[in-house]
Symmetry: C2
Subunit: 648 residues, 2 copies
């Protein structure tokens, strides 16, 4: 589920990378293959290779996306679409991050409008993980381990309504087999004798970070599935005959599962995991766009393979279309929180041998590689098994350690919600670090956008929620969580680069419940938190000054669920209007907490308030377009506040 972040920050950027020339095959090329007189297997092989070529294009154009598992699954997906799926059947990928490959197939077949290949991870385009809002997507995926449960729901509905009697094909990853839900889901499928259900495990041996076997060895999968009562078998996932036989062979009145041994990055030699040296620990092509050189080499290899297959099959294909890639804009002034976090945890761990770090297969994205390298015995890779990770952390704390638990905010706070509460109930002091928090990056889509984690982590017993505004404050916050807070802490971290807002030395002032006044003013006070919204609000404040001559007070606070009422009373005394700007749903998040507790403390008095944040399902797209869509760009925030000031 890793996401290498290459998004731009909205203001003051410059072109860090010049656009390169990238290319794709038109739909016509796919049609020629499909209309040829070749065998099904030949057609599928060439079709899959063309789809790889377009997948490479889509990811390069988008600036992010998952190449490795798109490539490993494309032979399977192509076979299904070209030779198996009937109108009454359903297919979906449980892992979801292989969507660029899936889209390449679907655009080639006209299931999706072809021109969408230019709009991967863009607003109105194709989301980073499938969403039922687009044609061909039967269910939302992106949060792992749900696939078989979902398949069963469809089959049950079909049975009861007698409206459709198709088969159900589910592709899963192998890393996601670490999720407990998957094992939950195996049982009742047997009981219901769902022999319309076909599951294929894209067993490409590599999960987000590294080899599955290094993370949490899956053992003998066929034996496991068999012990759960499934009709399980194993075979080469790039051998189309294996896929064909798996589906065509008569069933046994029970669901079938194929462990398809595949190669991550299949089709591009240097991306194939099997080509990696024995000493290579991390697989480089799980997520993120290829660099200029990698792109050119990969393109060349795929083109050679396509030409070779075309020649063998006596098919003449049109040339690919060349276009210039959008430049990736990265600000020279930007700061990144994850590397700062990596440094902060390392510093604390050096002086406190009780600190241990737990990770759920996101060691790259959560900044734990330096920690892991320096303290291998104090690093615990739990795999994609957040519940297991969090419960382990709870007893590690009871056993005398200071466990720090890491994952993306969206998964950590919801997958392990009950386990976190259970830890709190037994007084286990644990530090939960959720990265990728907030609306951005918006490219991966709603499954990865963590805009309800504040609610999810509220009402835990003895838990402080903290969102630092910059790298300096992050270091202080982590130190506070480890050394000062008696209870548990949730650190809400931004993963996109940002232009930092800072009050210099004052960043380091970390008095519970107090923010930092970043801009002096009266009349209107804006309270916010976190790097993205702090920057937005500071720009808005400057705009108020420039355009209207109004000084707006800006308070940036890291404290999402604590509030020093006396401090706020003093700070707010000159303001008749208070706005909260948050990188979260407004329904019951930071704004609700602050306003209701200011009111409770008698600080609100007659002051008018406004909550600005997310009010609907987050859209997928690039940073600027998404902030604008959700009216969280500086212009929209400014306009909303002007209207707020004008109101009675």
């Amino acid at each position: 589920m890793g996401e290498q972040i290459t998004y731009s920050i909205s203001e003051a950027t410059e072109e860090a990378t010049q656009g390169i020339s990238i290319s794709y095959f038109e739909k016509e090329a796919f049609d020629i293959v499909l209309n040829s007189n070749c065998t099904s297997e030949e057609k599928t092989r060439l079709f899959a290779e063309l789809a790889r070529f377009n997948t490479l294009y889509m990811v390069a154009k988008a600036g992010s996306g998952h190449l490795g598992s798109s490539f490993s699954s494309l032979d399977i997906i192509s076979w299904l679409y070209l030779n198996v799926l009937k109108p009454e059947d359903r297919f979906f990928s449980s892992k979801g991050h292989d969507s660029p490959g899936l889209y390449a197939v679907q655009t080639a077949l006209g299931i999706l409008p072809f021109e969408k290949i230019h709009a991967l991870r863009r607003l109105g385009g194709l989301p980073g993980h499938p969403d039922v809002g687009i044609p061909g997507a039967v269910t939302n995926t992106g949060s792992l381990g749900m696939g078989i449960s979902k398949a069963k729901g469809f089959l049950y509905a079909d049975d009861l309504l007698k409206v459709k009697k198709g088969r159900l094909f589910v592709l899963t990853g192998d890393g996601e087999l670490q999720e407990g839900q998957l094992w939950e889901s195996l049982v009742s499928a047997i009981r219901r004798k769902d022999n319309r259900l076909f599951v294929i495990v894209d067993h490409n041996k590599v999960q987000s970070d590294t080899f599955v076997a290094n993370v949490s060895d899956l053992g003998d999968l066929v034996s496991k599935f068999s012990s759960f009562g499934w009709d399980a078998s194993e075979g080469d996932g790039h051998n189309l005959g294996v896929i064909r036989d798996f589906i065509d062979e008569p069933g046994k009145s029970k669901p079938k599962i194929l462990v398809a041994n595949t190669i991550k990055g299949k089709g591009v030699s240097f991306m194939e995991h099997t080509s990696m040296g024995a000493d290579v620990e991390y697989y480089k092509y799980h997520s993120g766009a290829p660099g200029k050189e990698d792109y050119s080499l990969a393109r060349k290899e795929l083109l050679e393979s396509i030409n070779l297959l075309g020649n063998e099959m006596q098919i003449v294909l049109p040339n690919p279309i060349e276009v210039s890639a959008d430049p990736i804009r990265i600000s020279t002034e930007s700061e990144k929180m994850i590397p700062a976090y990596a440094e902060a945890i390392l510093g604390l761990a050096r002086s406190n041998s009780r600190i241990v770090a737990l990770d759920a297969d996101l060691v790259l994205d959560t900044g734990l590689i330096p920690f892991k390298n320096e303290f291998p015995n104090r690093f615990i890779e739990c795999g994609i098994a957040e519940q297991d990770m969090v419960s382990q952390a709870g007893t590690m704390a009871l056993g005398g350690l200071v466990p720090i638990v890491h994952s993306f905010a969206c998964f950590l706070t919801s997958r392990a919600s009950e386990q976190i509460y259970n830890n709190c109930s037994q007084g286990s002091k644990v530090i939960y670090v959720g990265s990728l928090a907030g609306l951005l990056p918006a490219g991966p889509g709603s499954s990865h956008q963590s805009v309800r984690d504040i609610s999810a982590m509220s009402c835990m017993y003895d838990m402080k929620l903290i969102e630092p505004m910059n790298a300096n404050q992050l270091a202080v916050a982590l130190d506070w969580a480890v050394n000062k807070n008696q209870g548990s802490t949730y650190l809400r971290l931004t993963s996109v680069p940002y232009i930092p807002v800072s009050a210099g030395e004052a960043d380091m002032d970390f008095t519970e419940g107090r923010g930092i006044v970043m801009n002096e003013g009266s009349q209107l006070t804006i309270i916010t938190s976190g790097p993205i919204m702090s920057k937005q609000v500071m720009i808005v404040a400057a705009k108020f000054k420039d355009e209207m001559g109004i000084n707006v007070k800006v308070i940036v606070t890291p404290w999402l669920n604590s509030l020093d009422a006396d401090w706020y009373r003093l700070m707010l005394q000159d303001s008749s209007k208070i706005a909260i700007v948050e990188n979260h749903y407004t329904e019951n998040g930071f704004g609700s907490y602050i306003i209701s507790h200011l009111s409770q403390a008698g600080v609100l008095a007659g002051r008018a308030t406004r909550m600005i944040g997310l009010n609907e399902k987050p859209k997928c797209g690039q940073q600027d377009e998404i902030l604008k869509y959700h009216k969280l760009d500086t212009e929209s925030i400014f306009n909303s506040l002007v209207q707020f000031l004008d109101a009675n």
Copy 2:
């Protein structure tokens, strides 16, 4: 995890059941056995039988508790405590609801003060599920499937800190093997070669509702565990030699697991599941206190068995001590929501064939038996696998059904948090029904007290949270959720009997965002929801009238996350103070939502507010003592509001 509710409602009760005579053995009796010259096996057998006798006493005295699985596990637990556990070892039960049996052993051995046997499920006594706040409890259990994860955390901490090098013994249920976390947790234990870890499955074949095989067949457990790499074996869990050999036989550098075949209710003939006729669907002695007749029969049988063993072993035991059981007080005016729910869903289902009901092993407690009997094809028993259940419901909705999902609020909203959000993100209209919501019953302890479900269910996309105030309103609410609401609904249901508050016909008015004015007044308005707090608030309002001559306005609203601002503006126009009383943590729940959104809508103006609800970890105990402890009894609420009115 089922809980039969026998708690009294605080006001206007009468004695529905006269106290019966119940009895227990003093610690001295256990000491005599331990100090005898019998063999380890003889001692353990008699000790376990005495513990069963005291377990029966504790549950009868408490008025609730889990007899069946205490009895099935007592031979195992007694063997461990008498012959295995060394000071450096740790033991805990992952299922947790066998705690009465565990406490009977621990009080007999002096690990817990003996007099605590009189205080099961009482404030300051022994919680319904283990809590680290009491001696001998190494971790909190009660939410299922966490045991092996927790064991691994302890072992890891021991290794790293080199402070303790004991073994870890975990007892699990068999029903809880349906939880995905359990399967997550098996994997890394192998990788770490944790051969200090011993897991015993109390395979008593019966989970909360009925036979495990009826719910979700576990299949060949030894084969499953073996396929996950564990050293797995099977044996008779009442044969002490089996337990001894399992622990003593040399290990294989990996964790061991024993599938211990046991009898639920072991020791009392009519409670033994094996004595039930083939036509009996539901096991009667999972939870809840025995009735007068059952108690007497069980007591007699256990005493005979004790005397027989004592004679064989030539041990003379003192007579048990007789005491009178506390009367169970149930109000004649009380109403129950679950039977009303059972009727409501049945009525709707009769006219809408798309309605299906999903359950997670709580068919009795969630009121689904009539539905299941009438619509067996539309009832889906998912077992204790909330994640799988919720994801299935999501695609059932996409497939054209109206799925209604049931469990206890504490587990449904947290175990399946991510799955619920995923459903919302794909526009799956699902109705989530969480029973046992709120602080009461407080007997089961914090694992079962759902006081953060409003936060947990906030910020889902397109989800309405509704808490009906009585049975009439519940029926309207369910109808609204099925027939009017386009999106998803969460119904927050009270499971304890309550004295209903009603506005007659007006209960049926169900305009979104509006409450019902239950009492007219000015100056102070109290907003609340749900049956328990509505009743409390109405009593408080009467008190204001009687004692101070003040008319307090009372608004009871079922809408926890929607608010008709114009309606509230009108209703609140004469009030300068607004209090919210909620059956939930106040941090970011109902009160925060209402106050922040009233403020946002400009309705709050200069009005002072107060949030009254839970502010700390909920305590275990009987209803009245717990309401009082948390200052949610009518006296405390009244005093708090008098002080609020007096303040500036």
